[in-house]
């Protein structure tokens, strides 16, 4: 166990990979990466200075040209999103989504803990370009260190004249307020985040009409951007959109931070080139996770956070590109790959995710509130060895009430099934409901024999382990 948060076990390998472009993680190599001194010494706030030398509309245009895709999960172009604010309606707000809690995902926490000034600079550039007069930086409640680092960085940046009245002696003025969350996964959904910021229970709003860019915080136009998305802006402002689009592919420029966890030799958070890096590279590549632990075989992997349908070995050569992943039956989501080796009890693994989403349902939409809970209860009894054939049918019926019609899944050569492309239809406002069905649907579709065995044998199990205890290598 390492007591201090840093250095991470994977850090050494991370730093050695100097030939990969680093857009957002370039300062992670320094022990004092989070300080204003280090930020200044490494080109910090130069993007802001450049932006302030341009007209706001020119800055917005540059971001649009960079095709910076939102990194929160939906992957919508940030510059286009900014353009949705209605003309002449003031004030406009910026809400930073730092409520990262998608299972398997962490990049925003690292960006806030290790490079808070980069995020602050991104907030300032966005506010200048889109005319946002106040910024609320919503940090997930359970991230104590991020609160401390971001609070200190904000204090230092205020004192240095980067935030507040007449920034760098221009007529640009904006406050950035650090706001604490208090523990609710659903608040990562942008309209729920706004509700929470208004002091309410974090329940999503209906879209339409509540698209935040039109009707957001306090009913005013509001841009909600993810931490990683905003952290890309200093690079784009400093180097221009052409330098950004030179990395990655045309449809997915730049880099992405991907957490690779589970049964791999070197789990870690890697900044990868968007669009071209494949899942095989990520899981087996020497510069990334270096393969499956203990010489075991890959059984399945979750390609884009707990909400994403699962992939198996047949999908390893798919690149990290949104359309390719959708076509193959899943999504890239929040940038999290969770790897399961052949010692994994698949129904028990799916149960951990179903439990998560059932637990995190806010209770607003009936299919999620009731359906998610029933999916959890039924799957729990199947995994415990007390389920029947009828339970498998009930799971599908409950799933159908949340996601009517074809449910996306991956192809499997072993089973002779082809892919159903992403996305699904849904009867709920947000993705929490469908996300409770996704893992059990994937598991039942790709590993039907494990569920059949459980309901046929019906041997009650008192202590269930998702896998055998971790190997000695860890």
């Amino acid at each position: 166990m390492s007591a201090a948060p840093y250095p991470y076990a994977w850090a050494a390998g991370y730093y050695d990979d100097g030939d990969r472009p680093q857009v957002v993680t370039s300062r992670f190599q320094y022990d004092d990466s989070y300080t204003l001194d280090r930020y200044h010494a490494t080109g910090g706030y130069e993007g802001l200075r450049k932006a302030l030398g341009m007209q706001p509309a020119e800055v917005a245009d540059e971001v649009k040209k960079s095709t910076l895709l939102g990194r929160g999960g939906a992957g919508f172009p940030a510059g286009v999103k900014w353009g949705f604010t209605p003309a002449g309606v003031w004030p406009r707000y910026l809400v930073v989504n730092g409520d990262e809690s998608e299972p398997g995902t962490y990049k925003d926490r690292l960006l806030m803990e290790l490079d808070p000034h980069q995020l602050i600079e991104g907030c300032l550039i966005a506010s200048y370009a889109a005319g946002l007069s106040q910024c609320f930086l919503y940090v997930r409640g359970e991230m104590a260190l991020a609160h401390e680092r971001v609070a200190k960085a904000l204090d230092d940046a205020y004192a240095a004249g980067y935030i507040g009245k007449n920034i760098l002696d221009t007529n640009f003025s904006v406050d950035i307020v650090l706001h604490w969350g208090a523990g609710a996964y659903v608040v990562g959904e942008e309209t729920a985040l706004i509700e929470s910021l208004e002091g309410e229970r974090g329940m999503p709003r209906l879209k339409p009409p509540y698209f935040p860019a039109a009707i957001g915080l306090y009913g005013m136009p509001t841009i909600v951007n993810n931490v990683e998305t905003l952290s890309n802006l200093p690079f784009i402002a400093s180097n221009g959109s052409a330098a950004y689009t030179a990395i990655g592919t045309e449809t997915s420029p730049g880099t992405r931070m991907i957490a690779v966890s589970g049964h791999v030799k070197r789990p870690g958070v890697y900044e990868i080139v968007n669009g071209s890096t494949t899942f095989r590279d990520l899981i087996y590549g020497d510069e990334f996770a270096q393969g499956i632990r203990d010489g075991n075989e890959l059984k399945a992997f979750v390609p884009g956070g707990g909400s994403a349908p699962w992939f198996v070995a047949d999908q390893l050569d798919i690149p990290f590109e949104g359309r390719e992943a959708s076509g193959a039956g899943s999504m890239l989501g929040s940038g999290a790959v969770m790897v399961m080796d052949d010692t994994t009890d698949i129904p028990a693994a799916a149960l951990t995710l179903v439990k998560f989403y059932a637990h995190e349902s806010c209770g607003k939409c009936v299919p999620c509130r009731e359906g998610g809970t029933w999916l959890y209860r039924i799957l729990e009894r199947i995994v415990a060895g007390n389920g029947t054939d009828a339970d498998l049918d009930t799971i599908r019926q409950v799933g159908e009430s949340i996601c009517p019609g074809d449910m996306p899944h991956a192809a499997s050569e072993r089973l002779g099934i082809s892919a159903v492309p992403f996305p699904y239809k849904m009867t709920t406002i947000c993705f929490v409901g469908p996300s409770a069905y996704v893992p059990v649907h994937s598991a039942m579709t790709l590993f039907p024999e494990e569920f059949d065995a459980l309901v046929t044998k019906r041997e009650p199990r008192s202590l269930i382990h998702v896998t055998a205890a971790p190997s000695g290598g860890q």
Partner: protein, 205 residues
């Protein structure tokens, strides 16, 4: 008992002033009360309601939605063991089993001396360092059974007092916006024109 102290009321007013509408300060102020009292009391919620001009029921209504707010006495140290997929794959259930044995209590309860509360938790955003736990929301990575026992010994001996403040304290430092630099929050109804840098840029075109 347990209304906010004068010092915390001053802090509360500073926090409230940052928001265009007072109710936005609800969650930060309930956190502040939990920092003061170790958990969220009814008196504290009444006091928060007074400060932001809502009813106590509205404060409870919002606060009860969020998992970090606890409405009954809690151990000085809240240990949350993650059980979501990445941690489960690396032995989280075995770790929880061990923790329950070491502490002599089941998950969801507090040790008889009132020092440690043990809980199941969901994803803690440290999935590559599984299995993980948090003590008062401070991470511990790749935790073995022996690590857990050492952690409990250290907590009991007070060895981690500087690093891990008592339950309820989130950050050991807080944001302070200096008055001479602050733009100040305006109620949205009081804003009718665009911000200066936009108006000037548009006028120049």
């Amino acid at each position: 008992m347990s209304r906010l102290t004068d010092a915390n009321v001053a802090l509360a007013r500073e926090i409230i002033a940052r928001y265009p509408k007072k109710k936005s300060a609800l969650i930060p102020l309930v956190h502040l009360s939990q920092q003061q009292n170790g958990y969220v009391t009814e008196d504290a919620m009444r006091h928060v309601a007074e400060l932001i001009d809502v009813t106590p029921a509205e404060v409870y209504g919002t606060a009860s939605f969020y998992e970090m707010f606890r409405f009954e006495p809690t151990g000085k140290y809240l240990i949350n063991i993650c059980g979501t997929l990445s941690c489960a794959l690396m032995g989280a259930d075995q770790l929880m089993h061990h923790a329950e044995h070491t502490l002599g209590v089941k998950a969801g309860s507090t040790t008889p001396d009132g020092l440690i509360t043990l809980q199941h938790a969901e994803c803690q955003a440290a999935c590559t360092e599984a299995p993980t736990l948090q003590v008062n929301y401070r991470h511990r990575f790749r935790v073995t059974a022996a690590d857990f026992d050492q952690l409990v010994d250290d907590l009991r001996a007070g060895k981690l007092d500087g690093e891990i403040p008592p339950h309820g304290t989130l950050g050991r430092n807080r944001q302070h916006i200096p008055a001479d630099r602050a733009v100040g929050a305006q109620h949205p109804d009081d804003v009718t024109t665009g911000p200066a840098w936009i108006e000037i840029a548009e006028a120049a075109q």
